[in-house]
Symmetry: C2
Subunit: 169 residues, 2 copies
Amino acid sequence: MSDVWKKFEDNGLTHSSVHHLMAIDQLLKTNGYARGIDVAKHLDISRSSVSVTLHKLQSKGYIVEDENKFYHLTEEGRELTHDVLSTRRIVKKFFLEVLDLPENIAEEDACKVEHLLHLKTSARLFKFISFVNADETFNREFRKRFKSYKHTCSDDCDVCDDDCFYEKS
Amino acid sequence: MSDVWKKFEDNGLTHSSVHHLMAIDQLLKTNGYARGIDVAKHLDISRSSVSVTLHKLQSKGYIVEDENKFYHLTEEGRELTHDVLSTRRIVKKFFLEVLDLPENIAEEDACKVEHLLHLKTSARLFKFISFVNADETFNREFRKRFKSYKHTCSDDCDVCDDDCFYEKS
DNA sequence: AACAAAAGTAATATATGGCTAACAAAAGTA
DNA sequence: TACTTTTGTTAGCCATATATTACTTTTGTT
């Protein structure tokens, strides 16, 4: 009854919009400019879809289109892409380096989650990774121990079958 | 160009549908039955929305409606709710107990993510939490050390400002 | 049986997000 | 200049999700 579940939609921008924004960010960094067609190619969707979405992003203040149809991020847009990219990288790093998950799973799950988590969550996660990965005897030992603990059953065993989690929690 | 971002929509069921399913699961456990109206009250949305969504869930094979309009989970539905609930609990536990995040953030973020993560991710996370929380000297020491490490700067400092993460990663 | 309350559903509306096709404008080229 | 290519925009379509209002059906009571 607590309605926490309804907050899923609360994220200002959708997953898709965020990726339009990040496409611009990346294009600016790699090519120095970003037009509609560039975003369309980058995301592999039609020019028309991009046109519509980018105009929405502009009306919401995340980007501006100059007189030559080149797009630029506003301060707000820059902040948002920075936050989302940070979160993605941190989460992926955690999945890969701490949980030792395979690349494709780490990549997909991080991407799904990147725009949903609170900043505080990713900040704390970053701190946690830094600690776990610290180059000190104790932390090295921790990583070593988890690695062997992780292998106490096979990589594909499904630890969550048979309600084991419910019993333990 | 890798199109990982497009997988966001790939989850068979939406966040909202999954919550309809979980509402039925919970109502069955607490009341012993679940009708449309019960789901509507539980989720605090209109009967009509529920009606549409539940018929979709039925056509997808997650639930069945009996001759008296009572809903029941199919095996597939049971599996899905079990998986999602597991993931939510595991993720929340991680946020709360390992990252030491506040209750509301842990709750919200876990809820947003519960239906998106691979099962393998939550299974591995479960294993990780179990290891971290193990009642042994070494693990206790780990928790203690992270706790003080975490406080090397204030709880509200934004570790990800100023591109610090990009530099370090 | 008659009526009222409860529950379900259809029609309708809004929003997202994609597509194609048609067209417009700009830039490049013969 | 005239033709072609590139790019952008609009309109129309489709599908999904989610909600509301208004209507129908079912159920229960008198």
